[in-house]
């Protein structure tokens, strides 16, 4: 695919300007931060509590914002116009995803700080968070491509957000309902398991299994996004 830095940068700048003036979407960024602050006040002191606002950031900031940005481009026909310019789909998706990634990195960092989480191994955790962000961006891309309008997008993205961000909660209930054991393999659960392992004495497997699981989820979801694109965007 034909990709150009100039064009990616132009798309990213455009997304930044549009996003900063789109208050309905941009104010969503504040929600997880408010949550993080409140949890801190309530005396959050376990990894699973620290991860509530972090997971919320992934679903509300990463997935939801990516999804609604793409759905809006479709609804307003701006995507079609971009596709008639020399911008390739790669330029458009990378530019937009890069923008959402930057917003995610800033939000997650602030959420970690506000909730009072001091990770024992920041380096490994940062890599896992970054890989998770890549997955949640793919998830938002899929929802955005699926939806025909902004309205539809915000409905489609809800169950997806619930399933993927409340994995850890399902895990807590899995002793009562064994079927929920499956939720252990969600990226959000793996991220939590990794973070918990990092606090104590951890083995190679404790790090690699979550990392690989998250990478596999990311790969599969990006492949799925590409398939949806082919199906939805060619008429």
């Amino acid at each position: 695919m034909n990709i150009s830095m100039t064009r990616i940068q132009a798309i990213l700048m455009k997304d930044y300007k549009e996003f900063s003036r789109n208050y309905a979407v941009s104010t969503m960024v504040l929600l997880p931060l408010i949550m993080a602050f409140l949890y801190n006040r309530l005396g959050a002191n376990t990894i699973s509590m620290y991860f509530l606002p972090i997971n919320m950031t992934f679903s509300i900031v990463t997935t939801y914002v990516q999804c609604s940005l793409i759905a809006e481009e479709k609804e307003k026909n701006t995507l079609r116009s971009l596709m008639l310019s020399p911008a390739s789909l790669g330029d458009i998706l990378i530019g937009k995803s890069l923008f959402v990634l930057i917003v995610t990195i800033v939000s997650v960092t602030m959420a970690i700080f506000l909730v009072g989480y001091e990770p024992a191994n920041l380096f490994i955790l940062a890599i896992a968070l970054l890989l998770s962000a890549v997955f949640y961006i793919a998830l938002g891309t899929i929802c955005g491509l699926f939806a025909k309008s902004i309205m539809e997008a915000s409905i489609i993205v809800l169950p997806v957000m619930v399933i993927f961000s409340f994995g850890p909660l399902a895990l807590a209930l899995s002793s009562a309902y064994p079927i929920l054991k499956l939720a252990e393999w969600l990226p959000s659960s793996q991220l939590l398991l990794l973070a918990e392992a990092l606090e104590g004495k951890y083995s190679m497997a404790d790090v690699l299994i979550p990392m690989i699981t998250i990478i596999v989820w990311s790969l599969l979801s990006w492949i799925f996004a590409a398939i949806i694109y082919k199906k939805r965007m060619v008429d």
């Binding site: 300007k17 549009e18 971009l82 020399p86």
Partner: protein
Amino acid sequence: MNAVIDVQHLKKTFNNETALQDVSFTIKKGEIFGFLGPSGSGKTTTIKILTAQTDKSAGNVLLFGQHASEMKQSHNRKRFGILTDNSGLYTRLSIEENLILYSNLYQLSPSAVKEALDFVNLYAERKKKISQLSKGMIQRVTLARAIMHKPELLFLDEPTSALDPVNTQHIYNGLRKLNAMGTTIFLTTHDMSEAEILCDRVAFLHKGKIRAIGAPKDLKKEFGSDTITVELKNGEQEIIENGSQDAEKLYQWMQSDQVTRIYTNEPTLGDIFMQITGSDLV
């Protein structure tokens, strides 16, 4: 070969409904070619196929000697510009910000934005947000975006449908200037006078079929009844053929000083469209 567009036996169906059937035409470099037809006749569908936004069902479609599907390539997208009724502009951005985005996507020099704004007479209003603009202004911004990279080939889908007469005239002048610099223009319209003013050649499209094709004056010659009306002093109106056969009659009337007024009944393109297709252009 100097045909910029060469379409042969093009057919397009949408789930069993035929939108285009056996459409053939060629457009030479430097021509302004008009696609005339009422709403639903297949004008937009033709442009979508030519610009690789949708696939044809059958036939042969070449642009610059390449298959239409090749127009998806970045380097080919730089060769054409397009204006459609869907502006595809970012409503929270200003006119200028929208054009800057596209000048970066086409990798143009910064002066291109100002030139494009001048072309559509919007430089003074460049800081306005798209959400605050009238339909006519949006159409002008879309046109500015379409011509900004100085394409060899320009597709205009009903370019003046939302414009007032002053801006329409301004755009006509601009298009003629572009054309004089070598730009080939493919425009669709249901405005016959627009076609007559701008186009070197036109095709009449009706229910997905081309019913006639040629220079406006040739179509008039071929299909129009070429007559002259003579008003006489006794109040009578005589209609005579525009040719030597009726010249004697006219000479007699003039000799006897009976004539008050003479005018030709040259048909408009709209009349001819009506005559060929049996339907109006709206």
